[in-house]
Subunit: 302 residues, 2 copies
């Protein structure tokens, strides 16, 4: 190997969140050299440990590709990490000095959006336990909503689960008709509505989101209440999609566990602007670092 | 005074909640002999202290009427106390031995409902910080909703305040149009939506309900968003009213600080069953004890 080859840049894309981080190593030509994963890397939840997990992920990638630690200085790393938009995370990253040629950190929604649109501008709505919108215009990202449950996050999985339990309480009061869904949910609480309110006293968004899946299942079986709730959810999500279109952040990719159920209930006026995600968030992180590596090197080597 | 006169029964009605209790003393003929108030008497919040406050209230009534402590054994007390429907409150009351001829304790909504309908059957919806429905049929009370914020309590003041803040966040994201209401609310948080979510992390129902009044004020000034929120609220309250009608608990009285705003937005199909409260909750407590004093004496003097 001559020196020109050993100095060839390496690109790493990482998608990190509270359950783990996953990365991919590519050469300058875009060939995949290795894939690897490491521990949780949510900058809000894991803080310094998130950065340690990313370093471990890159280590593993280099070793898997047979390059080893001496390749570190050739790495340009693009990281999409949950929580990166928060001021505390920015501070954390500013004090970080990984042994790489360059590193760029951004919100995980940003790389998911880039991946979905293969590095181009566009919009993204992620409907999981929470809900968040993301717009990329002229390469710049902007967050929409994502203010958090229970105050906000309307249209999220947590919100859908909460609505289902509210409906269950109302059905138990005889204010709305019972359906198989409300009977099922009440049975989960020993047919005692008071147990629902006791449970709610300590329930978190993930606990509520657990019941979102039940709503989808019952809607699939034709349950009228479940169907109405999914329509309500689609109205809420539709507001986010419409806002992205108004911002010219289109087309829009709909991701997250509840995306299929939601898109089936969106009006055609919106669905015609929806596109499936063309690549994943790791690919987005690679687009991101390829677009920004030079800029980063400028800032790291003044 | 002969013995027959001194043995004439005395009736006390008390309406008690978390901010205080108020009582009225009447003779058998229904003449008001005295009115008095005492400390907070919510059986869930104050527990034993609620019963102490009621005893103090009765003491004051007897002294104000010039009867004094020797009148205690002639007192038949009807108490409408917040939280009385809870199992823990029933236990508390079961162990209580006030020095009266008889005492009957019931939910404050029950006596409010009896007062509103002058002792007759009927329905009640109270729209304040929380929301609760009450039905009296054949003299028997039944609670509706009141499951508590934020899981339930849709249509309450806390819920209305929360909806207004949700709308403010959406307006700040450009997802719905700004209005004078949303601009005012955002300004209350230094024009920083993040401050709203920080505030929400520790906000309680009373804190949210505080903003319900703002919504009503802006609706009065023609604010489109405030008007829409009041219509949403009326739909929620309308479900409770409709349920009371379906249960034949009619007519329905609408009470609480938000009742005027709500009734202005209810459809005519419901408002024609609404009646103003004819008397207050203390009067209701007096109806209650006059209807039940004999039964109680039976149980106290077997």
């Amino acid at each position: 190997m001559n020196s020109a080859v050993t100095e060839e840049p390496l690109y790493v894309g990482v998608d990190g969140g509270g359950t783990g981080c996953r990365g991919r190593l590519e050469n300058a030509a875009g060939d995949c050299l290795a894939e690897a994963s490491a521990g949780p890397a949510n900058l809000y939840q894991q803080r310094e440990q998130a950065l340690v997990a990313v370093e471990q992920c890159v280590d593993t990638l280099l070793r898997s590709a047979g390059i080893g630690p001496q390749g570190q200085s050739r790495v340009h790393a693009g990281l999409g990490l949950a929580g990166a938009e928060l001021p505390s995370a920015r501070q954390l990253v500013a004090g970080w000095q990984p042994p790489w040629a360059s590193v760029q950190v951004v919100n995980d929604a940003h790389v998911a959006c880039l991946g979905a649109h293969q590095g181009q501008d566009g919009g993204l709505v992620v409907v999981g336990t929470g809900i968040v919108g993301w717009a990329i215009r002229a390469g710049q990202g902007q967050i929409l909503d994502g203010w958090g449950f229970p105050l906000a996050d309307q249209g999220s999985g947590a919100w859908l689960g909460q609505r289902a339990l509210q409906l269950t309480l109302r059905a138990s009061d005889g204010m709305v008709p019972e359906t198989p869904l409300t009977r099922h949910l009440l049975a989960r609480f020993a047919d005692n509505p008071r147990r629902i309110t006791e449970w709610a006293a300590t329930a978190r968004s993930g606990d509520y989101a657990h019941y979102a899946r039940t709503v989808v299942e019952y809607a699939d079986q034709g349950d009228a209440a479940a169907e109405t709730l999914l329509q309500e959810q689609a109205r809420e999500v539709g507001l986010l999609v419409q806002r992205l279109l108004d911002m010219h952040a289109s087309p829009v990719a709909l991701l997250g566990g509840l995306a299929p159920a939601v898109s089936a209930h969106l009006p055609a006026a919106l669905t015609r602007f929806l596109v499936p995600a063309r690549e994943d968030a790791i690919a987005g992180a690679l687009y991101f670092i390829r677009q920004n590596a030079t800029r980063s090197e400028d800032s790291i080597r003044p």
